[in-house]
Every structure is written in C-alpha cells, then in structure tokens.
C-alpha cells in the first residue's frame, strides 16, 4: 500500500466520523443495558430499552445533531476502503449480538419476569436482530468470502437468511419498479407493504437461488442452496438455545425474530417510497440513478446504520464500504433520519402528510411518474390532480 498518498494519510485525521463508528456497537448491547437499568432502578419499564432507544432516543439524537453532508474526496476512497479498522467496527457487532441473545434466553427462562417484562425483553432483543440485518447488509455486499459468511451468521438470529440472496440479486435489480417487493409505492401504507415485502422477498430469494442451481445442473433441495443453508443456520441457533434453555424460550426466539425483520422492513418501506424508474423505449427499466432512493444525512441515524441512509451512493456502488459512501446532491432527501421516519411509517395518515407531497415535488407535480399502488391508483391520481 505504498501507493497510498501522504495526502490520504493526513486526511484520515479529518474523517470526522472515524471514532463515531464504534457507537454502532451500542445496539447489540441493548439487552445488557436493559438488564442493568432494571437492576439499578427496579423499574420493569427498562426491559423495553431497545424500543425506548430506537423509537425515542435515536429520533431525538437526529434532531439534536442534525445533518452531516461531508464527503470524503475521491482521492482517499481507496485508502478508506482498505483501512481494516472500519471492518472491525462491523465484525464486532456479531459476538455482542449473540452473547446478548444467550443472556436474554437465560433471563427469559430463569423466571421472575412478568409477561409484560418478557415482552419488553423480546422487543429489545428484536431491535438488535433488526439492526443486525443492517449489519448483515453491509457485510453481505462484500466480495470477501469471510464477510459473506458473517452476513449469514448475523441474519440467523432473525431467520432472514434469504435476505442476503434476495437483496443483492433481486432488490438491487428491480429497485424502484412495480415488480420489486421491497420498493414501497405511493399510496401504499406500511401495513399493506409489510405482508407484500415479507412474502414477496421470500418467494424471490427462493426463485433466484433455484434458478442459479438449475443453471449449474443442481437440484434446489441441497445445502448448496444459499437460502437453505442460511435457514439451517437459524435452525441450528434456535435448536441449541432450546436444548440449553428449554422449549419455553421458543416463543421468545420467534417473537424477537419477527420483531427484527419487521423493523428491517420498516426501513425498506422508506428507502424508495413512490420512486419509479421509467421504461426505456425497448421496454427495460432505466438504470437506477441517485433519484431512485430516499437519502438522509442525519448524522445520528447514519452512525447507527453504517451510512445506510446514503442510499443512492449505495445503489450506485453496492460493494463500496460504508465509511466511503457519499452524500449525493441529486438524491431526494427525507425530512429526517430513518429512525424518525420509521415512526411516521407506522402511522399512515402522518406518513402520507409528510411524504406524499415530497414524492409529488420530486416529479415536479406529475404524479403519473411515481410508483403508485395499483389498487389505489384512481384515488391517488384524483387526489394529486392527474385524473386524466
């Protein structure tokens, strides 16, 4: 790496977020934090720490710290990419995530917790599982075999192993089209989107992998199938925990997994809401451009989500490492960070009020250019003045 310029070395000291990235490891510490807070205060409320932080503290931090649109200059991108420090910030998420899961199983099965406390604990662990899918997302895009394996391991907790297949080979191809289960449409509420994306992504992941194996002349029902071997990992994790802590932890394991992937799908909901790639004259979808992802430069959410909100650059350069992702002026910007926006997504009338006019403005008032929920097309066109 002698080619790394002195300029790049000097610049490293100006990477303002360099020492903020380990803060992402606060997330897998949620179960420990919850336990400590309950222990210190005697208040069962703190079993809900994960939800309190994700839905309360994170949005607050977004308001407090605002936006950071600082971009690394092109000359240091290669240097940032090869700096292993940044990788360790993501790798360390995994051991903490799994120690937390084991500790939570112990707390759940040891007795002494009310049903409400137990639910809070499952929600707290579910938040880790969900944000763990984001860590898996960062790792799963890499060319490195180790990182691809780590991605699957991170997904095992939420039973969402097919995400690794579907996201790269499905979502990245069909993003911002009517065919993509993981791109939400104008007029589609989060609650309509949720079953569509969960079932559609599952189907897509399976079909992609079956087609790949077919090309190789293999049968789909084997451990070569990356969907099946990823699920097998979930089965192994859950199986071991049931053997160790008893079948009583099974509802806990299922609950935290569902909470986890529902959190991930809430993030999916806001990343491409209403955005649509046009068809070219030959009937293909135009290329995905920065205009096809909602971005946010709120620094707090960006630090906890490894720059996921610099989503346009992610779609343009999917293997680029999080520390090197750039803000893009051409991309539509959300009014706040993802943490705030998922709260709005749960409340459809509020979401519509905040987001629909932004989609409309993005298309200069021409609603017909948006990705519209088919069942609500007439109503959406009538509402936004294009009923012709």
């Amino acid at each position: 790496m002698a080619a790394v310029s002195m300029e790049a070395r000097a610049w490293r000291w100006h990477d303002r977020k360099r020492y903020l990235w380990p803060l992402g490891l606060v997330v897998p510490l949620f179960p420990f934090l919850a336990w400590a807070l309950v222990d210190a205060t005697g208040l069962g409320l703190f079993w809900w720490t994960g939800a309190l932080v994700v839905y309360g503290l994170f949005p607050l931090l977004d308001q407090l710290f605002g936006k950071d649109s600082h971009n690394p200059p092109d000359s240091v991108l290669a240097y940032l990419e090869q700096d292993r420090y940044y990788r360790w910030c993501t790798y360390l998420f995994l051991p903490l995530q799994y120690v937390g899961l084991v500790v939570a199983c112990r707390l759940w099965s040891a007795g002494g917790l009310s049903l409400l406390d137990k639910t809070g604990l499952a929600v707290t662990v579910g938040m880790v599982a969900g944000i763990g899918i984001n860590t898996a997302h960062e790792l799963g895009h890499k060319k490195d075999t180790l990182e691809r394996w780590l991605s699957k391991i991170a997904l095992a907790q939420s039973g969402y192993g097919h995400f690794y297949i579907e996201h790269n080979r499905g979502h990245h191809v069909r993003v911002a089209t009517a065919e993509d289960p993981a791109s939400s449409r104008l007029g589609e509420t989060f609650w309509r989107f949720l079953p569509r994306t969960v079932t559609g992504s599952l189907r897509s992941g399976w079909q992609l992998e079956r087609a790949r194996l077919q090309r190789l002349g293999k049968r789909p029902w084997s451990l070569r199938n990356d969907v099946l071997n990823a699920w097998a990992m979930s089965l192994a994790v859950f199986g071991i925990l049931v053997i160790v802590f008893g079948v009583a932890v099974l509802p806990f394991l299922l609950l935290q997994a569902v909470i986890g992937f529902c959190l991930l799908e809430a993030v999916n909901y806001l990343e491409h809401y209403g955005l649509l790639r046009r068809k070219t004259t030959s009937g293909r979808d135009e290329r995905c451009t920065p205009q096809h992802s909602w971005n946010s430069d709120n620094i707090a959410s960006n630090v906890f989500l490894y720059h996921l909100q610099r989503h346009s650059d992610h779609h343009a350069n999917p293997t680029r490492r999080y520390q090197a992702l750039r803000h893009d002026e051409r991309a539509p910007e959300l009014p706040s960070g993802y943490a705030t926006m998922i709260l709005l997504a749960y409340l459809p009338p509020v979401w519509r009020r905040v987001m629909d006019h932004r989609v409309l403005a993005h298309y200069a008032g021409d609603v017909t250019q948006a990705n519209i929920q088919p069942a609500r097309r007439a109503a959406v066109l009538a509402r936004y003045g294009a009923a012709r």
Binding site: H141, K143, N168, R169, H172, V173, V175, R212, S282, R284, R287, C288, T289, H315, A316, N317, P318, T319
Partner: protein
C-alpha cells in the same frame, strides 16, 4: 472474447455480443467501455464487475 459478470446481481456482459441496446457494438472490449458505464440491471458501477470464463456448448 471474454465475459464480465456484475458481482452484485450476476448480469453478464459478453464482449462477443456487446450491448447494442445502448450502442455498444458487438465485439467491444471491456476496457473500451467508459468507466462511468454501469450495470444495466442493477446500476452497479463498472468497477463492480469481474471477468468470468464462460464455457459454450
């Protein structure tokens, strides 16, 4: 003639066929495609491709 595969989504550029859809003539070598060109399917940058050997029947 070589083939290049998008590392993200699996789309394949075959030098033999080019990509006439966008005016890249058959036989255009990979190195002659502009650096700002991107995957027609998923939009990944040219740097996200790698060479693969394709065995033809």
């Amino acid at each position: 003639m070589k083939s290049w595969q998008c590392l993200v989504c699996g789309w394949i550029y075959d030098e033999e066929h080019g990509w006439p859809e966008e005016g890249i003539a058959a036989g255009t070598r990979w190195q002659d495609i502009p650096d700002d060109w991107s995957c027609p399917d998923c939009g990944a940058a040219k740097a996200d491709f790698e060479m693969i050997e394709i065995t033809r029947a």
